[in-house]
Amino acid sequence: MELGKDSTLATGLRKVTSVKGISSSKHWSMKENLIEKLLLAFTLLSSILIFFIIFFVISRGFPVLQASGIHFLTTGGWDKQFTTAWLAGAKQNVATFGALPLISGTFYTTLGALLVAVPFGLGCAIFLTEMCPAWLRKPLESAVRLLAAIPSVIYGLIGLIVIVPFIARNFISNEMALKMIKICALDGTSLLAGIIVLSMMIGPVFITLSSDALMAVPRRYKEASIALGVSHWRTITRVMLPVARKGIMTGAILATGRAIGEAIALSMVAGSVANLPSPAHGLVFFLEPVRTLASTIVDNAEGMGVVSCESALFACGSLLLLSSVMLSVLARLVSSRVSREVR
């Protein structure tokens, strides 16, 4: 059977004789349009979600923020305020709160974790890309990926079973505890425990992004430097790290975001008291319990049934949301700005 253009089968496939709009094709393009509209609807839903979350969280937190004003950021007393508001129930819809201890808790834990994770993480990233012997590379990469995959509750568990008692036994003496008894109880859950656990959690993310950035440095830069007789170490610090700046900074920003938002692990190991540790206490500073904005929400979650308490928690949530939005914006700025310079 010669499949010439005139056979019946051929005509069946070539329903059309002209290329202008044919009814069969109109129905066809209606279906195409419908599908495109459907996909658009889902996409719109995504963008609505983003706006709605931001709007909702901030508007629910607004009553407390408005009532407390700047005092929200500058004064403390959260625990007492929260309990009072909770007991008052629906009788009192708005109350003032002072979240300074929470904000400082977030600040200190994040700062501490970054001070630990960034140097060690960068060192590990440099090791991984530049100095690691071949047989060690795979295990180390897998180790980093493993650490990144461990859920936060397990870090919290390990911290609670290992690190907290360790701190309690070795760093906290009875006299110390007695001295501090009026301010807070020293039982091992502390700023120090929080910093240790948090740095283990944000380290892997930072290591991965930094080593990606270092591996992306074009070989010719490194070769040119070595060929000029510059030592390996100086090549790394003077040539490669500057070129990898963008990725490393992005990694640090992402790590910061992770640290600020961590709720579960810190609620387990950093303490459940809204305490404001004071550097005036000396080294005990590190051993005092703290609570962050995020872990407060976890610890005080039962307050969600009471309007004033719920508003307070959403106020914390608003601060968290704002900080994560700012960090995202910062990360984008870094990406676009630094790349122009490097070129």
């Binding site: 059977m1 499949l3 051929a10 069946g12 002209s18 094709s25």
Partner: protein, 257 residues
Amino acid sequence: MQAAKNSCKIKVDNLSAWYGSYHVLEDVYMEIYPRSITGLIGPSGCGKSTFLRCLNRLNDLIKSFRSEGAVDFEGENIYERDVDVVLVRRKIGMVFQQPNPFPMSVYDNVAFGVREHNRQVKKIDLDEIVKQSLERANLWDEVKDKLNHSGLSLSGGQQQRLCIARVLAVMPEVILLDEPCSSLDPVSTAKIEELLLQLKNSYTVVVVTHNLGQARRVSDYLGFFLNGKLVEYDTAFGVINNPREKSTGDYLAGNFG
């Protein structure tokens, strides 16, 4: 080499085109005749590939592309508003420079277009169409035992013939080829050229090529592009032996490339 001048398959009328502000084609006028091979030659960047892609509106995919003028296919301008571009591309098929079979089996590659255009096609008819398309592409003997193998497992030359079979399966009237042999070895190239000479008996073929020898070997008509303008267009014999323009002669002589 006298073709019926009264029935031209495609008439390009004052076609101009821009990529953004870059003027890539300027006032091209060309008549393409059925059952013949029209070759398009010219140095790199002269606009011949852009011109080819205008013939099946594939340039629509490029956001900064803009065109003026008409491309009449059997009397109807394909650039008019109510034209269904998908139908246009069924009738005017294209084969690309780099062979690009789908990541599917040989059979599915050829059957793909057929299945899409006619959902109710019966398996037995489909088998026949696939076989005939592969035969027409001079590929059947080499793949008849390998129909279930991936299209990507064939050699470069075979992949290109597979792409031709894929186009033949949807039964177009015009086949456009954009430098189809530039990534192939001489043996595969010869096979494709032989195939083109067979295909011209049933289809209208337009080939862009940078290989002057190939242009000489296969073309009935030849169009020479330079800097976005169609400098010369006549029968292949005429262009090669009696070029009217100096630049045509220079290009053919290899004075510039």
